[in-house]
Amino acid sequence: MTTTTLATPRRRRRFRFGTFMVYVVMIIITLFWITPTVGLLVSSFRPADDVKTSGWWTVVINPDKARFTLDNYRTVLGLPIPGRSSPTGSSRVGMDVALINTLTVALPSTIIPILIAAFAAYGFAWIDFPGRRALFILVVAMLVVPLQISLVPILRDYVALQLGGTYLGVWLAHTGFGLPLAVYLLYNYISTIPRDLFESAFLDGATHFTIFTRLILPLSTPALASFAIFQFLWTWNDLLVALVFLGAEPRVQVVTQRLLGLLGQFGQEWHLLTAGAFISMIVPLIVFFSLQRFFVRGLMAGSVKG
């Protein structure tokens, strides 16, 4: 604020007080925002008895009485705990299996729509064909269509095709629901790549396929990354698509389904719930903190999605 040099001393003092208040208010808001997560994190490391008999904040108030353990995580991940028999059958929490299942769902559900959408975006941007504009308008129209619309018909198809409960079924569903946004975002990016960059390749007789795979894909990395992060987090955190298309069998369940199951099955076992919840959050948090810039860019470009 360069104008403060012109201000009277009284004004300057008021300005400083205002800035001070801004910091105070922001610190309060930020503390409020992170307290729930901190509470979860602290509780997940406390012994079961402590979690059930005292609030997690007592750890902050009375640090010398606090006890910490990794047993909750061991139980939730099905790792052996020294001096205790490991649980089997329905008392098993099974977050380990759910984590692998979630990766199995989320990785292809991210990569497949990106591949398909990148091809389509290139087609819409650089190949002239009849009906191009009308078909792209269809893509834009589908941006906001709620996925609920497809549950009844697609479930019917999956029964007929025996795709219910298979990973392929879930990948295709996530691909279908993610495609409009992916095509739209990648089109916006790919259509702005200057034509001169691949004009000479065309003159040399390169096909669209070569130009796309050799030139356009590498050039589009930032846009691909933005959408990849967005789609990965969306599929990782999704509950509805998994419940509907993956089904209830524990062998294939993803972390959100497992966590929902825990809420019913171990509703009062807070030491397990908190550890389970934190495990479900850790991958998204790593992605977020390491790739924050791409994520924010994707958000900006992708507002108004169905």
């Binding site: 104008t3 910091y23 922001m26 930020t30 925002w33 729930p36 008999t53 609030g55 997690w56 904040w57 692998i100 199995t104 591949l115 398909i116 389509a120 087609g123 190949i127 002239d128 191009r132 269809l138 893509v139 834009v140 589908m142 906001v144 709620p146 609920q148 549950l151 009844v152 018909p153 697609i154 479930l155 019917r156 298979t166 990973y167 295709l172 691909t175 629901f177 495609l179 409009p180 396929f209 987090l233 955190n237 509950l239 419940l243 509907v244 972390v255 966590l259 929902l260 807070w270 719930l273 389970g276 919840a277 479900s280 959050m281 992605v287 977020f288 994520f295 958000l299 900006m300 507002s303």
Partner: protein, 378 residues
């Protein structure tokens, strides 16, 4: 030099080389290659469906199969097209590129709008035509009426209002702080955005946890309330305010989104404009009202629309917090219950159509904006 040598060598390869270079041979190859690809993909699929090998191994094979399969299909269809005459090649190549996307889009989103509408006119199993019965259910049943109240008043108005309001407040405040402080605050407030609705529900269920007054509280909210000398409350049972406690979870998740977008818009306001206002003697509030707000109006509309669309389809928070009980039912959850617990396809489809109708204005607005933006697109 190299091409010549290969031509020289052709006869040495013998009959097969000559045969493969004929049109018929090429046709045969172009049928054989895709057939093998399809068979391999299908066999792996069957194997994955029925296998008993360790989970992580299935996962890796499944990932390779899924991603590799898509790549193979694209390469293959391109290969097939390139066997054709140039005229046909030019006609068909666009469909190699946009075809798969359009096919999946049509299957998963375009056709389902029509198929859901048809299904909504039939009974639970989709056998008998029932006319508008499912819509009568959707507009008169107790759980749907409750859902409309919760979706529109609590989630849409309170939820969106608070998300955008807090986002705006934080964006304006944080803009006046030191850049390092700003980055840290933004990252921490934005962080819940990457947490799933179910994960957030575990976090907040723990905060709302109820124990009778007098016993040790382990839920933070009741801990504070009892420390202040009030009775502890079963927050999730207090109708209709329990809806508000669920909405707060959504606000906690979504405020980071509106904050980041609005903050970017504020940073985009030319600083001369703000300086001019200050020199003219406007106070901070007047600058906010008369310069900042009008400049970011478009962004505010976008953010509000996005969050309204989100609240309209809210599902996972309600499903994991209350299951829609205690007066907290929402539209998407009723649809889920109709689909799976009541197994009533007709009703589930009718509810989907209602959700679709609700987003039509946004779709219309998007298409109009798109039409304006892209005059060059022909």
């Amino acid at each position: 030099m190299r091409p010549n040598r290969e031509i020289d060598r052709l006869p040495e390869i013998g009959g097969i080389g000559v045969f493969l270079s004929t049109t018929f041979g090429r046709l045969l190859v172009s049928l054989f290659v895709p057939a093998v690809t399809f068979i391999v993909l299908y066999q792996v699929f069957i194997f994955l469906r029925d296998t008993q090998i360790p989970q992580w191994m299935t996962a890796i094979i499944a990932i390779l199969w899924g991603v590799g399969g898509v790549l193979a299909l694209f390469t293959l269809s391109n290969y097939l097209i390139e066997q054709l005459s140039p005229a046909w090649r030019r006609r068909l190549i666009p469909f190699v590129f946009v075809g798969p996307a359009l096919a999946i889009l049509t299957w998963y989103l375009v056709l389902p709008t029509i198929r859901s509408f048809i299904a909504s006119l039939y009974d639970a199993r989709g056998i008998n035509f029932v006319g508008l019965d499912n819509y009568i259910y959707a507009f008169t049943s107790q759980e749907m009426l409750q859902s409309y109240r919760n979706n529109f008043i609590f989630w849409m108005i309170f939820g969106t209002g608070m998300s955008v309001g807090f986002g705006l407040l934080i964006a304006v405040l944080v803009d006046r702080t030191h850049p390092v402080f700003e980055t840290i605050c933004k990252a921490l407030i934005f962080m819940p955005m990457v947490i799933s609705g179910v994960g957030a529900s575990v976090i907040w269920k723990f905060i709302y946890e109820y124990r009778p007054t007098g016993s040790t509280q382990i839920g933070l909210l009741n801990g504070i309330i009892t420390a202040l000398g009030f009775e502890s409350q079963g927050w999730l049972l207090l109708q209709p305010w329990n809806n508000l406690f669920l909405v707060i979870i959504m606000v906690w998740l979504q405020t980071g989104y509106s904050m980041v977008i609005i903050s970017a818009a504020i940073k985009g306001i030319p600083s001369d404009l703000l300086e001019a206002g200050r020199i003219d003697g406007a106070n901070e509030f007047q600058i906010f009202r008369n310069i900042i707000l009008p400049s970011i109006q478009g962004t505010l509309i976008t953010v509000t629309t996005t969050i309204i669309l989100f609240t309209l389809k809210i599902f996972d928070i309600v499903q994991s917090m209350t299951g829609g009980n205690f007066g907290t039912q929402v539209i998407a959850n009723v649809q889920f219950v109709q689909l799976f617990r009541q197994v009533h396809n007709g009703r589930a489809a009718a509810i989907a159509i209602i959700l679709l109708l609700a987003v039509l204005p946004v779709m219309y607005y998007n298409l109009r904006q798109f039409g304006k933006q892209t005059e060059a697109f022909r």
